[in-house]
């Protein structure tokens, strides 16, 4: 049980680091895209700050952002699958 706890703890720490990095990176990319859009003239009549804020708020509620949660889900699913294949087939 101790080794299981150790696995979960390690996994949680590593995946959290990945999750946070990917989140920050993704937001950065979004911001860069919004800036470019605004520069190219799709301003919707807002100034740059407001345009970017609106765009990021939209991103915060988006499904795309929730997809980053896959960082947690995929490894756990893979582990479950490996356990099944190695021990029960």
């Amino acid at each position: 049980m101790l080794s299981l706890a150790r696995l979960f703890l390690t996994l949680f720490v590593v995946l959290t680091v990945i999750y946070v990095s990917v989140s920050l990176w993704s937001r950065q990319v979004r911001k860069r895209k919004l800036t470019r859009e605004w520069r190219e003239g799709e301003t919707d009549g807002d100034d740059m700050q407001a345009f970017i804020r609106k765009g990021l708020e939209e991103y915060d509620d988006s499904f795309r952002r929730k997809l980053i949660l896959l960082v947690y889900i995929v490894p756990v699913a893979v582990i479950a699958y490996i356990i099944y294949v190695v021990n029960y087939t």
């Binding site: 080794s3 150790r6 490996i82 190695v86 021990n87």
Partner: protein, 213 residues
């Protein structure tokens, strides 16, 4: 400097390749001649042994380990150990050691009447350190000369390479954009500093030289 750099990256690459070669699954077609169990006192080679059975006491200095003795198609012997990897490394999550030993015993055969078996395993056989590969699964095969395509390894290596490349490209871009300009600035100020020092030393050594005569 260039040689040192290449030597460094060469060594890193070798370590990574060796690590992957040890950890990723390999499949061999063999004939099981017998199975046995032996007490192992772990010494210098202790890093090459896996875990005690999940749920049993940990941190023992010795324990009994299952082994599977096999003969390859070319007649050479290959001995596997059969241990739980449990929740630890490498991530095979193998808990069915005793079941596997039962299956392996069941598939024993003689050289006159061979039953060919595909053994999935990881690890190396190193005679000098008494190191054995760890068997993960055994499966009866009819044709010993079948071609085995390691799809899983291909996928894992591709994914690892994709991750490595994605990070590398981003890191290089980041370096070009942020660190190189900063280093250029630092270089310049270092040059100025060095020039200044040279000029000062020039003066000092001229002064010493005037005494030496």
């Amino acid at each position: 400097m260039v040689y040192i750099k290449w030597a460094f990256w060469g060594i890193v690459a070798l370590i990574v390749i060796a690590f992957l070669h040890y950890t990723l699954p390999q499949r061999d077609i063999v004939r099981i001649s017998d199975t046995y169990e032996k007490r192992i006192d772990f010494g210098e080679n202790s890093i090459f042994w896996a875990k005690e059975d999940t749920g049993t006491a940990t941190g023992q200095i010795n324990r009994d380990v299952f082994f599977i003795q096999t003969i390859r198609k070319n007649g050479k012997p290959l001995v596997f150990r059969n241990e739980d990897t449990g929740w630890g490394w490498p991530p095979y999550f193998k808990f069915d050691t005793s079941n596997l030993q039962t299956e392996a015993s069941d598939l024993r055969s003689t050289s006159e009447n061979p039953k060919w078996v595909m053994v999935t395993h990881y690890g190396w056989r190193v005679e000098f350190l008494t190191v054995f590969p760890n068997a993960i699964a055994v499966k009866r095969v009819d044709d010993p000369d079948m071609t085995i395509i390691p799809w899983l390894n291909i996928i894992i290596l591709l994914v690892l390479f994709a991750i490595f490349w994605a990070i590398r490209v981003r890191w290089r871009r980041f370096r070009r954009r942020r660190i190189d300009p900063m280093m250029a600035g630092a270089d310049e100020s270092w040059d100025n500093l060095a020039d200044g020092a040279r000029a000062r030393r020039g003066r000092a050594s001229r002064w010493f030289a005037s005494w030496r005569r």
